[in-house]
């Protein structure tokens, strides 16, 4: 393991621009200049290419590996969408061009893309309007909760709490907190929101309930109609965490069944690549009553079919992103949606659920599957007694398969959460089943077998405690 800095040699250069006609010292007083150059790495172009090419080989990725990773929807990321997002007509566009007087005429294609994805997301989700500004799922959650707060404030409602089921993603309570709310947790029962616990939690000062449906156990929330009714009574809003949208696209629209806000993880459901941790896009959709509060600027269509940018929304919560969000990311999502279309979008959900249920059935002979009912796009399970979820995860790495999500949700013992997605084929699923059955059997006979895994990955298990204690967060000069 040698870093860029280890390989750096003073004076070595790669892409050096032409020699400047004047140097900084001749243009600015010395007091405004840095004392010495930043010790950035100095390498040749070949050094850099070779460094990152080799390091890339140390990564698992969807392009190389199956990722049955619950709650993450690691589906195939089509190569055509990368081409589309990198078209010069999009990538070279300065965002402030749109803010020049009559500058919109020069960005009509870009505004069209924003308008079209907002429209198509509205139709897929049954919402009145979408904003593309949020730059990730968590950022979308924050935006959604800010919209809820703006609504209540505008109506003069005194609301201080947001209710979050214990099966929710950790970002839900964190987002609600940053938006200024107090969190009320409620427990699940039989994998569903407990109606009694909910009843108790729903006091008049509740601003909203944040739901994940299907929930993080992979189960569809069967009490949904009652829940909606209860919330309406206290003028509380219903928030839909779209992390699991891949299960229901074309089967249910969250707007139709009474949700007021939804955030989507376009890098999950709409097939844009995960990028090793981002960039994402956390589009937020709202029902009619929340539209006045959406972030500005908003893209609108003129009567002549052209598009404009409107900042004139006095009730808007303001700027969530500097411009219109992660444009190049949601252009990919728009391309994905356009490719699949009316037929393909529901089909993605159908085959995602098919794959998950097939895996669930195939695995229930050697894993404990706590809910013996139809799952949606993912399901939870536990390894046999004596075997740790972590060891199962690490053993899969050895066989070239990414680990499932483990120890989440917390309410399942030694949880293994599998989400195969619709883009994986039957052979791949069967191979996972065969391998797991085999190594779990071995693990039951020989406890050490799984604990030593993985053996031949680029590195073996890493010492996380040492990392947290020693805090080496950068390379010293």
């Amino acid at each position: 393991m040698r870093t860029l800095f280890d390989k750096s040699v003073k004076g070595r250069t790669a892409v050096v621009p032409a020699m400047p006609k004047k140097h900084a010292e001749d243009m600015l007083p010395k007091s405004l200049l840095r004392a010495k150059p930043a010790s950035l790495p100095e390498l040749s172009e070949l050094d850099v290419v070779r460094h990152f090419t080799r390091n890339s080989h140390k990564n698992f990725s969807v392009d190389g590996n199956f990722y049955p990773l619950g709650s993450c929807t690691m589906k195939y990321n089509a190569k055509v969408i990368e081409h589309i997002a990198s078209l010069a007509g999009f990538s070279k566009l300065h965002p402030l061009t749109a803010q020049l007087k009559h500058g919109e005429q020069y960005v009509q294609g870009a505004l069209q893309a924003v308008y079209e994805i907002e429209q198509v997301l509205c139709e897929i989700n049954g919402m009145s309007a979408f904003t593309m500004q949020p730059m990730s799922g968590a950022n979308g959650e924050f935006t959604g909760v800010m919209l809820i707060a703006a609504y209540h404030k505008d109506k003069g409602n005194k609301k201080t709490k947001i209710v979050v089921p214990d099966s929710a993603h950790g970002t839900n309570p964190a987002s609600a907190m940053i938006a200024g709310y107090e969190i009320v947790n409620i427990a699940s029962k039989d994998g569903m929101v407990d109606p009694k616990a909910l009843e108790e939690a729903l006091t008049d000062d509740v601003a909203a309930l944040m739901m994940t449906c299907p929930n993080t156990l992979g189960l569809f929330e069967t009490h949904l109609p009652e829940i909606v009714e209860k919330l309406r009574k206290i003028d509380a809003l219903l928030y839909y965490d779209g992390a699991n949208l891949n299960a229901i696209m074309g089967k249910m629209r969250v707007g139709d069944v009474g949700f007021d806000v939804v955030h989507l993880n376009l890098h999950k459901t709409m097939g844009t690549p995960h990028g090793g941790g981002g960039p994402g896009s956390g589009a937020v959709g709202v029902s009619e009553r929340l539209t006045p509060y959406l972030p500005v600027g908003r893209v609108e269509k003129n009567n002549d079919g052209t598009y404009k940018l409107n900042f004139d929304y006095p009730k808007s919560i303001g700027y969530i992103a500097p411009f219109l969000g992660n444009f190049a990311v949601y252009v990919k999502a728009l391309a994905y949606i356009s490719r699949l279309g009316k037929e393909g979008i529901p089909r993605a959900a159908e085959y995602a659920v098919l794959n998950a249920n097939y895996l669930r059935k195939k695995m229930d002979s050697f894993l404990h599957v706590p809910f013996d009912r139809m799952c949606m796009h993912e399901f939870v399970s536990s390894p046999p007694e004596g075997i740790k979820a972590l060891d199962v995860a690490k053993a899969l790495l050895e066989y070239g398969i990414h680990a499932p999500t483990i120890y989440f949700p917390l309410i399942v013992h030694e949880c293994l959460m599998f989400e195969p997605t619709e883009t994986e084929n039957k052979d791949t699923l069967d191979n996972l089943v065969t391998l797991m059955e085999e190594f779990i059997k071995k693990g039951q006979q020989d406890a050490g077998f799984l604990q030593q895994m993985p053996l031949t990955t680029p590195l073996r298990r890493l010492d996380e405690t040492f990392a947290a204690r020693s805090m080496i967060l950068k390379q010293e000069e």
């Binding site: 600015l28 589309i84 968590a138 800010m146 970002t171 039957k426 680029p458």
Partner: protein
């Protein structure tokens, strides 16, 4: 079926394993009255149709302007190796590196990114990136609020107004009080800033070069902040930072930067890259992911995500922030970009951009009634006062094929005649002459 591999035979076999007759049976939990009331989106397109459709859409944007528009987002040259390497599937389609055994490519890149950010900004610790600089500024402010347990941010009006709007939006429901200190003809009013720092001050927030291009030294200001147990937060421009006095040298506690100028295309607004770095004692307040160095079972060096106890998936409502994803691929692009340019390449980029800005300023100010907004030192960007409305001028210039700069009037009342102009190393003296000539004809 695009991206779905199942054959009809496999479908049947899988349905029978599950014990249902059709795909629709899988959705029995969703009752009839909950089914979509409409689903009126266009039919799917073949890949060829799709490509043609988006190529047409992209062609409706005009990207061949002669460009002098910056205002926080700059058209520097991006070496093609940045695209080639960051687009590799192993980086592009990998997940958050929670499984370090099979994620060293991503983890090492982030560690290298963190190191480069610290060295460029002259700070102790960086995280794995935030969404954009507006977001970085907000998180920096919240770090200060948590650290100092105080609630007032003193903000220079010469900080980019878009980022200040984001600060306002994000902090709206927090107990944060923003005190904005007016600029002085485009220069930071350091006396006023100093005077605004009281004992309730959590942080003073400035920008260098500021929105109007003015370069300053905030050492004294940060000293004053320290006296009042407030933190100094500074926003910088990474390319110019290769030559300018550093946040560390000025005594800042937190430095943030918009990473767009380090290898990210303008892309109509995103994705960009929120850089953030801080002094060591603030690291546990820093939101987002952080990579640390460690060893594996065999004693081999490697990297992991660390200090996760701060994060939302562990701490839930008590986390330092709600941030889950970072801008992984953007951070990767920026470290590749920095490695390709190196300190010398970045410096030359800054210097040539500055040199061209000087040529342009000289020629522009020879036009009748055109003058620099102030006498402050500047880098590659400066503001001029025109004899006419800058919005109108910019519109006419765009009709002539130029993005001549940013008319600041829409964000600063009373500055309707002021135009903010930037150069990068991609501009040329020939382009400058054309601009001056065209602009001269309009005044």
């Amino acid at each position: 079926m695009p991206y779905i591999p199942h054959t009809p035979e496999e479908l049947q076999e899988m349905l029978s394993v599950i014990g249902v007759a059709s795909l629709d049976d899988l959705f029995a939990d969703i009752q009839a009255d909950m089914r979509p009331k409409s689903f009126n989106i266009p039919s799917g397109k073949s890949e060829a149709e799709l490509t043609a459709c988006f190529e047409n859409m992209a062609a409706k944007n005009k990207t061949d302007f002669i460009n002098f528009l910056g205002a926080g987002y700059y058209d520097h040259y991006i070496p093609k190796a940045v695209d080639a390497l960051s687009q590799r599937g192993e980086f592009l389609t990998s997940y958050t590196p929670y499984q370090p055994e099979v994620s060293q490519g991503t983890l090492q890149s982030i560690f290298e990114y963190q190191t480069a950010v610290c060295r460029l900004l002259d700070m102790d610790c960086s995280n794995a990136s935030l969404f954009d600089i507006g977001h970085s500024l907000f998180e920096a402010g919240m770090m200060a609020a948590r650290h100092t347990r105080k609630h007032t941010w003193v903000v220079d009006e010469a900080v980019n107004p878009i980022w200040r709007k984001m600060l306002a939006t994000y902090s709206a429901n927090q107990k944060i009080n923003i005190v904005t200190v007016p600029h002085d003809s485009g220069k930071s009013d350091k006396n006023a800033l100093m005077n605004a720092i009281g004992d309730d001050c959590a942080a003073v927030i400035v920008q260098n070069p500021n929105f109007f291009g003015a370069i300053d030294d905030f050492t004294e200001l940060f000293n004053k902040a320290k006296e009042h147990k407030a933190l100094g937060i500074i926003s910088v421009y990474p390319v110019m930072q290769s030559i300018l006095k550093t946040p560390g040298e000025m005594g800042a506690d937190i430095a943030v930067a918009e990473g767009q100028s380090l290898g990210l295309p303008l892309s109509f607004g995103g994705p960009y890259l929120g850089m953030i770095a801080c002094k060591k004692d603030l690291v546990r307040q820093m939101p987002g992911r952080i990579v640390g160095k460690t060893n594996d079972l065999n004693g081999k060096e490697g990297f992991v995500l660390t200090l996760q106890a701060r994060e939302q998936h562990i701490r839930r409502a008590k986390a330092t922030s709600n941030i889950c994803s970072n801008q992984g691929l953007c951070a990767l692009r920026s470290i590749i970009h920095m490695a390709l340019l190196g300190p010398e390449g970045l410096k030359r980029t800054a210097e040539t951009s500055m040199y061209l800005a000087r040529i342009l300023a000289d020629k522009l100010t020879k036009l009748p009634h055109v003058g620099l907004l102030n006498d402050a030192p500047y880098g590659n960007e400066f503001a001029v006062r025109l004899p006419k409305n800058a919005d109108e001028i910019a519109e006419k210039m765009s009709e002539r094929g130029f993005l001549c700069g940013f008319p600041v009037g829409q964000y600063y009342q009373g500055m309707e005649n002021v135009l903010l102009i930037s150069c990068t190393e991609k501009n040329s003296e020939e382009q400058i002459d054309k601009l001056v000539n065209a602009l001269g004809g309009l005044l």
